[in-house]
């Protein structure tokens, strides 16, 4: 049936419509979250090299003070989210299960939590290079979830031009309302941020993409739009995964990003609204990131809401503060479609965390029977990349990984989970694809190694 609706020009092909479940928190304003007694800051919070620690154990630091500096180009600096004492530098657990070097920061209980000022960057006079440097120094990474260092993304490669800056306010994941609240409450930061971004990328116009279920945010932004800035707000039909870079570009510009290429091929750069707002908020003061907006929700949470939480707050502390159901069984960081399950409550909130979901036993609707693929085609009709997840799934089951990659474009799958969501046979397709991709990458690396050797 899907393809009938696909005649709609303003959207990408296929995709799904999971229940939005956003009503619980979309109306709740952002609230400040208390400081945890101990803040745990892993250095590997972003894609790329972990930051390099510049403080010692026992050192006292002030909120906003630099704790670690960028270690290379694809890396960012990190700032103290609270005033306090560095009590330990050791391995800390992360959501991937891997250990990462990190800082244990004991918060001063009665500190004013004044934030340090740094070198302000003036949007009107700064050069693009200065802005990019400022972004890196502020420790800004993609807050949409990928946590990719934003300054790397904004650097337009030689020979390419950026026509359009796309601000991603889509927030297509169910449950999450972070970006929604940011758009309603931090419009000025967003517009300032866009000013920086336009300058940094050299883009001629900016388009803010918002799904129709956040019409109020779109109206709000349009109303407060400053004069003279080339910004347009575009309201898009609701469909998952519209927030994904590729899909958003297709929806807004009607272009496709060639397989394996970056958005700049379509003359666009995509930045999340929260990231934009953060840039707009921090750069004028030369500050670094200390906190971010996170939606805490899900059937197992007592005090649902959108909170401004210091980075590094331990998950256990967060859950204790909001109160959770006795029967909690699964906790996710991120949304229900792409979020990661938490195996260890000792991990902490990182820059990329956009939401925390708590499900109890009875809410986890995981059918125990996995039927064989009946080739119903639901997944084919859902996959926004237009892959054939059914065939891929069967091949994965029989471990034909090379064939998956060579004949069925496995590597183009971006693990949005649409296929698994719709599969009536409850086949864990995405999981198959993730392992398959890992194995294929490993094999390719081995092959390269052999060639070199």
């Amino acid at each position: 049936m899907m393809s009938l609706f696909n005649l709609h020009k303003d959207s990408f092909k296929h995709g799904i419509h999971p229940p939005e479940s956003k009503d619980d928190t979309s109306g709740l304003p952002i609230r400040q979250f208390p400081f945890a007694p101990v803040i745990i800051l892993p250095m590997a919070q972003h894609i790329g090299t972990p930051s390099e620690i510049v403080v010692r154990e026992g050192q006292e630091v002030q909120r906003g003070q630099l704790l670690a500096k960028a270690n290379g180009y694809v890396s960012v600096s990190m700032h103290a989210p609270v005033s306090g004492k560095v009590c330990k530098i050791a391995n800390v657990p992360t959501i991937s299960g891997k250990m990462s070097l990190g800082i244990y920061l004991e918060a001063f209980p009665f500190s004013t939590q004044e934030v340090l000022e740094g070198n302000p960057i003036d949007p009107d006079t700064a050069t693009p290079e200065e802005i990019l440097q400022g972004i890196q120094d502020a420790g800004i990474v993609g807050l949409g979830g990928a946590a990719f260092p934003t300054h790397v993304k904004l650097k337009i490669p030689e020979g390419k031009t950026c026509e359009t800056l796309i601000i991603n306010g889509v927030e297509c994941e169910p449950y999450l309302t972070t970006d929604h609240r940011v758009m309603l409450e931090q419009e000025n930061d967003i517009f300032t941020g866009i000013k920086y971004l336009l300058k940094a990328t050299g883009a001629k116009k900016a388009i803010i993409g918002i799904e129709a279920n956040k019409q109020d945010a779109a109206d709000h932004l349009s109303k407060h739009m400053p004069k003279g800035l080339p910004i347009a707000v575009k309201v898009l039909p609701v469909k998952y995964p519209q927030g994904a870079e590729k899909m958003l570009i297709t929806s807004i510009l009607g272009k496709e990003i060639p397989s394996g290429k970056l958005p700049i091929e379509a003359g666009a750069v995509v930045v999340n609204v929260a990231t934009t707002a953060e840039i707009g908020r921090l750069l004028p003061h030369g500050r670094g990131i200390q906190e971010r907006v996170i939606t805490i929700t899900g059937p197992g949470v007592k005090k649902k809401g959108n909170y401004l939480i210091p980075v590094g707050t331990p998950l256990r502390y967060v859950l204790e503060q909001v109160g959770v159901d006795q029967e909690i069984s699964e906790v996710y960081m991120g949304g229900p479609m792409m979020g990661m399950a938490v195996s260890n409550l000792d991990i902490s909130i990182v820059k990329g965390t956009s939401g925390i979901l708590v499900f109890t036993k009875k809410d986890v609707d995981r059918s125990t029977t996995i039927y064989p693929c009946i080739k119903c085609g639901a997944c084919v009709d859902a996959c926004p990349i237009l892959l054939n997840p059914s065939k891929l799934g069967i091949l994965a089951k029989f471990e034909a990984y090379d064939e998956m990659a060579s004949d069925y474009n496995l590597m183009d799958c971006f693990e949005c989970g649409s296929c698994t969501y719709v599969c009536p046979s409850h086949i864990p397709l995405v999981q198959y694809f993730r392992s398959a991709k890992r194995i294929v990458r490993k094999r390719e690396a081995d092959k390269k190694e052999k060639v070199h050797a």
Binding site: P372, I394, L395, K397, F398, A400
Partner: protein, 193 residues
């Protein structure tokens, strides 16, 4: 003796009386080389080609044998000519494309001992076809062979990725599929009339 049109000769040989599925000719390569689509198409092509050649040479030999009035030499002359021709083709392929030779492996010589090829020669004689009719007949038979081979190869490739129960793995499953295909081809009955 016969009044069939060329089109119906072709259809009859390819579909209605498919050499593999209705006449049981060429079953060995049908079972043996149908595991992979790629080899199946190559084998099909090779068989088609050899069929055409042997049909033409059979036509010539038949005329020759009639002229010297020695019908009893029919079988033996057909088969040596076919065998030698195939061997020639084999050498030729080996020279031209070692890769192709490799992938067809032992089945190239087996084309010689492919019933379908001798079958075409014998049937065209017994049906009293003229030269053009013989050529069309052999093309039809070849196309039918190719079709059967390709169909089953596709299915067997898909079966590599199926939970086939142990007892029906291998030749048994292939035969079952062939049986069902043969039932399917019964649907074509009467089309060539």
């Amino acid at each position: 003796m016969n009044t069939e049109s060329l089109g119906s000769i072709f259809l009859n040989a390819a579909l209605v009386n498919n050499f593999v599925l209705a006449y049981f000719l060429g079953i060995c390569p049908f079972l043996g080389v149908s595991g992979k689509m790629e080899t199946a198409t190559k084998m099909g092509g090779a068989v088609m080609f050899v069929m055409l050649i042997s049909s033409m040479s059979a036509y010539g030999i038949h005329a020759f044998l009639v002229s010297i009035d020695a019908p009893f030499l029919q079988l033996i002359s057909y088969i040596v000519v076919i065998a030698s021709t195939v061997q020639l083709v084999e050498m030729f392929i080996k020279k031209i494309s070692p890769a192709l030779f490799k992938s067809l492996g032992i089945f190239l010589p087996l084309i010689t001992t492919n019933c379908a090829i001798l079958g075409v020669a014998l049937f065209q004689t017994s049906k009293g076809y003229g030269f053009l009719e013989s050529v069309v007949y052999s093309l039809g038979a070849g196309a039918g062979f190719m079709l059967a081979l390709v169909l089953i190869a596709g299915i067997r490739e898909q079966m590599n990725f199926a939970d086939v129960p142990n007892i029906s793995k291998g030749t048994a499953l292939t035969l079952f599929i062939a049986g069902i295909l043969s039932l399917c081809f019964m649907g074509f009955a009467g089309l060539g009339a």
